[in-house]
């Protein structure tokens, strides 16, 4: 990395923003720094390490609040990681990368890189997570809006991720298909639903690694909303999800196989939610 000439470790988000603004395109913020090692944009000469800026917290506070530089391991080991929605954070993050990388990688870094195979992003989408960003002032936006903004070239600093409190009768499930245990997803599925009195009051479905970045599948969600939980509605939602994804061939799988995985994965997630949430099967 001989292009790097400065490595800064600002003590606050405001200081970090000041440094980044002063140096413009030549500066990049990092959390663990994993992706910068692997995919450094040319012309980067300054790294702004955010891990000393007081953002490495995980709090149970009106749901869950996760600081941008909390590592995956920290999140997994936190009380929120254990208890939020039946431990979904602890369980899903166990599938991400390797323990060595989980000790270093941050939720802010993963959102910043937005790898299409990301396991974290579909999970955050279905949990209806929002992010607090800073670009001179704090503001809150949805994860989807944040990702869209980054795709359009916006570069606010991520401060924290907020997960809303889990309503009663809610459950979340995740499926990841990969070749080996330490592998990125060939395809992943995240589903969330709130079921009361056997009916679905909220449903969120996201499929990622299609090989595109995860998006929520409104059409598939529509098959569940207001419906009774039973194998038929689950099957319809899964089929709709498979049809809706932007599936393409790549080295790992064909588009057709990905649709099959999407159908199987969403169905499995929904069945597990059903079992957890106490809906009729």
């Amino acid at each position: 990395m001989t292009g790097i000439r400065e490595y800064l470790r600002p003590a606050s988000i405001e200081d970090a923003w000041a440094e980044l603004s002063a140096r413009g395109e030549a500066a990049r913020p990092i959390g663990g720094g994993i992706d910068v090692h692997l995919y450094v944009p040319p012309g980067t000469t300054v790294l702004v390490d955010l891990t000393q800026a007081g953002l490495s917290y995980v709090r149970e506070e009106d749901g869950v609040v996760i600081g941008a530089t909390a590592t995956f391991t920290q999140i997994r080991e936190s009380t929120a990681g254990e208890s939020y929605l039946g431990g979904v954070l602890r369980d899903v993050l166990a599938r991400v990368a390797s323990p060595l990388q989980r000790n270093l990688g941050t939720v802010g870094g993963t959102l910043g890189s937005a790898h299409p195979w990301s396991d974290v992003i579909p999970l955050l989408l279905v949990l209806d997570a929002s992010v607090v960003v800073y670009d001179g002032a704090r503001r809150t936006e949805s994860v989807a809006d944040y990702l869209a903004g980054r795709a359009a070239g916006e570069r606010p600093l991520l401060v924290e991720v907020r997960l809303p409190p889990a309503a009663a009768g809610s459950a979340c499930a995740f499926e990841k298909f990969a070749a080996t245990g330490f592998d990125v997803a060939t395809l992943n599925c995240a589903c969330f639903a709130t079921v009361r009195a056997g009916r679905c009051e909220a449903a969120r479905i996201a499929v990622g690694g299609t090989p595109g970045l995860a998006v929520k599948l409104a059409d598939a969600e529509g098959h569940l909303m207001g419906q009774r939980w039973n194998p038929k509605t689950i099957a319809r939602a899964a089929a709709a999800a498979a049809a809706a994804i932007d599936a393409r061939d790549d080295r790992r799988a064909t588009a057709a196989y990905r649709r099959k995985l999407a159908q199987v994965g969403v169905a499995r997630c929904l069945r597990r939610i059903c079992a957890e949430g106490g809906g009729t099967e």
Binding site: T2, F177, A179, T180, G181, F182, D183, V184, R251, A253, T254, Y257, K260, L261, V264
Partner: protein, 772 residues
């Protein structure tokens, strides 16, 4: 078993590895851990084209980069054609390689090398090299290579040993026994199976690496991560025109080889840089280069036809193999040959057999030696065909093997017809416990209970499959190993062996043999290995030869040393040698007399009729007694996604006496896990331009700790009278099992046959749906 079995004191014990403590504490004992002042960092420029003439190489820009000491291209390096294959001289591989050639023949092929003060300077200089290529049509498959009008990949005038360069054929083999067509005509059932195996890479955790420097006498020292130090010395000497006496090759600890390092891949470049500049040179392949420009397994396309009578006895076996050897022919002939020589003798009841095939050039990554060496590829169609045949005959697959496999006291005509690239050597087996392997393996996996049950567990269906196999123990009448032993005053012994420990534990195993003969504990044997100045010759670590061949040399040297000890003790005790016993660090004589080993040495070194107690001995084996293996796998197939999970793997192996049982198990376990990766997840993918698309562990998936199923290795009781302490070998055979065993288990589970590895989830699902 036989009368020759003794109660071993050291052999047969799972002693700790002699180099274990140094490894587990991270001592600097690998090639890259050396640091010499003034070291030049060497980087290689690889071709972006799969096939091209090199018209012009302009290095002026590179030479101008500050810190650059040396730039090598085809314009300023020796033109000697050689093979990179680390094999005995004369090597059974074509001499088709030049250090830097007028042509490039695969993406990543060498074009130039730069040596500079720093890695950054070397990389900067590489970027300044200007090459004019004339791209040629790439040749991307065996069929492409054999097509009329296909480009001739090796058209150089000075290549030698290519079977038919004009047709891109490196090697052609055709041997037969009996009358094949008669055999088929006399058969009641015929089965024909064609299988295809993929490009795979060894991915040793340590890539290829070499450190060269001049010693104070101006001799070239190559400290290299190799399986073949003596072949390195000879081939570098020939290639560079430097006398052998001016070269010393030292192998320190090696971070895995598996065949990839049975090759002279980098040493010539580093050696030449040092020879010309006088400075040390360090050259290590990046992980990407290891995938692209090192060596791979030969992808093969093999057809097997079996004919058997209603009685289940094979009448005829036909194997036709086509092998893709990549851009250069190293190991092309011998791997092809092994596909037949390590498989067909297993079923010696077939009186009629034919093995034929070709190894063919393509403009793709270079295939070379890889554990199993052709047998791995060939057992796929052979054991699949046997499984199919069993079903047709209404026989249990185990029973079909029982009726056909070779036994002790038997031979096969294939042994003499097919060796490693030339005629082989006849042998009558003196040990074979395959019967017992089948019995114990079947019982451990629960064969009777599980076969045909197709137990369901949600979307998963379970099945079991089995296979049998053999390999070899060294190359008879060709491989040679030697060992020197010398005694020290504290009754310790230096054991100097050319044999090459690449992580296999051969230093330990060979020391155990010496300790056993000399009647001392293991820690009295001090091993120095693989230094061409100090240790006697050994072909190196390949062909599963080390325990059987090098072990025999060690046993002989130890026996000669022991005889000298007894002679000295006899003189000291005024007794006859026949009255003496050597045990527990002392020589016991008649009437309660005794002399410690230490005193024996002190007497011989200082006191009376002084001489150095010690001996050198060699071994050229006259046969190659095969280890035998029965594999049993339980798999579960996810009928929704096609994913295959190995639930349990049992391997019952006859390796003769396991000198160190834990190390023997470790060899099997490692080979099996590598084989499961080869069966389920590993595949090098190539673009339409011949470029490797997945040259990293990110995209080329090998098994990790989360993926490994419960594996049980059973070392079946056995004794090979021709082997040291009754040992045969175990290094390679384990890797041959998983592909066909898993394939047969998948068939048991979901009734689908797979003909192409790896069995990815997508392929299995497509097969279940009846699509190719």
């Amino acid at each position: 078993m036989t009368d020759e079995r003794r109660d071993f004191r050291v052999v047969g014990r799972s002693e700790r590895k002699v180099d274990g403590r140094a490894l587990v504490t991270g001592k600097p004992i690998f090639v890259a851990d050396l640091k010499l002042a003034g070291t030049l960092h060497v980087k290689i420029l690889g071709s972006p084209h799969a096939h091209a003439h090199v018209l012009r190489v302009d290095t002026s820009g590179a030479e101008a980069v500050p810190g650059v000491a040396c730039v090598l291209t085809r314009d300023n390096t020796p033109t000697t054609r050689h093979t990179t294959a680390g094999q005995g001289f004369p090597e059974p591989s074509p001499y088709d390689t030049r250090m830097f050639d007028d042509k490039v023949r695969f993406v990543g092929d060498r074009v130039a090398a730069v040596a500079a003060d720093t890695e950054e300077a070397a990389l900067a200089a590489l970027r300044e090299i200007r090459v004019d290529y004339e791209p040629l049509e790439p040749v991307l498959s065996i069929d492409d290579a054999r097509r009329d009008g296909a480009p001739q990949i090796h058209d150089e005038a000075d290549a030698r040993g290519i079977y038919d360069a004009s047709r891109n054929v490196v090697a052609d083999i055709d041997i037969d026994v009996g009358d094949l067509e008669e055999g088929f005509a006399a058969s009641d059932e015929l089965v024909e199976v064609t299988c295809e195996t993929q490009y795979a890479q060894h991915t040793p955790i340590e890539t290829h690496v070499v450190y060269s420097y001049l010693d104070p006498d101006g001799r070239l020292v190559l400290r290299t991560s190799t399986q073949v130090p003596f072949h390195v010395r000879r081939i570098v000497a020939t290639t560079l025109g430097i006398p052998i006496r001016r070269i010393r090759v030292i192998k320190p600890r090696v971070g895995g080889g598996f065949g990839a390092k049975q090759e002279v891949l980098l040493e010539d470049i580093a050696a030449l840089v040092t020879w010309r500049t006088g400075r040390p040179a360090f050259l290590q392949l990046s992980r990407k280069e290891e995938f692209v420009a090192a060596r791979t397994r030969h992808p093969m396309h093999i057809r097997v036809r079996l004919g058997a009578g209603r009685d289940g006895v094979l009448r005829a076996v036909e194997m036709e193999a086509r092998s893709n050897t990549g851009a250069y022919g190293a190991h092309g002939l011998t791997v092809l040959s092994n596909a037949g020589s390590k498989t067909l003798p297993l079923y010696n009841k077939a009186q009629n057999a034919r093995f034929y095939g070709q190894a063919v050039y393509t403009t793709l990554p270079v295939a070379g030696a890889y554990r199993g060496y052709g047998a791995t590829q060939a057992y796929f169609p052979l054991e699949t065909a046997m499984d199919e045949l069993a079903e047709r005959l209404g026989l249990d697959p185990i029973e079909l093997r029982r009726r056909n496999h070779i036994r002790a006291g038997e031979t096969s005509p294939i042994f003499v017809k097919l060796g490693e690239g030339r005629e082989g050597v006849s042998q009558t087996l003196k040990s074979c416990e395959l019967e017992r392997c089948l019995e114990v393996g079947a019982q451990r996996i629960g064969w009777q209970e599980k076969r045909g049950r197709k137990r369901r567990d949600g979307s998963w269906v379970h099945g079991v499959g089995m296979t049998v196999m053999m390999q070899g123990s060294g190359i008879p009448q060709i491989d040679m190993a030697a060992a020197t032993i010398k005694m020290n005053e504290d009754a310790s012994f230096n054991l100097l062996i050319g044999a090459t420990d690449i992580g296999t534990g051969s230093d330990t195993v060979l020391a155990q043999i010496a300790a056993e003969v000399l009647g001392v504990p293991l820690d009295r044997i001090l091993v120095t290995s693989s230094d061409t100045d100090v240790t006697p010759f050994d072909v190196g670590a390949y062909a599963s030869s080390t325990t059987y061949v090098s072990g025999k040399a060690v046993e002989r040297a130890a026996e000669r040393t022991r005889a000298q000890i007894l002679d000295v003790a006899a003189a000291a005790l005024a007794a006859d040698v026949s009255e003496l016993t050597l045990a527990d660090g002392a020589v016991l004589g008649p009437n309660g007399t005794r002399i410690s080993l230490s005193d024996v040495c002190l007497r011989a070194m200082y006191a009376s009729d002084q001489f150095q107690i010690g001996a050198i001995a060699s071994c050229v084996p006259s046969e190659s007694p095969p280890p035998f293996l029965a594999n049993f796998a339980e798999v579960a197939v996810d009928t929704e996604t096609g994913r295959v999970r190995v639930v349990r793997y049992v391997a019952a192996v006859d390796c003769g006496t396991p000198i160190n049982p834990r190390l023997a198990e470790g060899q099997m376990e490692g080979a099996i896990v590598n084989g499961i990766g080869y069966a389920l997840t590993e595949e090098m993918l190539l673009s339409s331009q011949g470029r490797v698309r997945n040259p990293s562990w990110f995209d080329y998936k090998i098994l990790g700790a989360l993926d490994v199923p419960p594996i049980e290795v059973i070392l079946v009781d056995s004794y090979e009278p021709t082997g040291p302490m009754g040992a045969k070998s175990i290094g390679e055979i384990g890797i041959n099992g998983p592909i066909p065993t898993i394939a047969n288990a998948i068939y048991d589970a979901v009734g689908v046959r797979l003909w192409r590895s790896p069995f990815t989830a997508e392929r299995v699902l497509a097969a279940m749906r009846g699509r190719p």
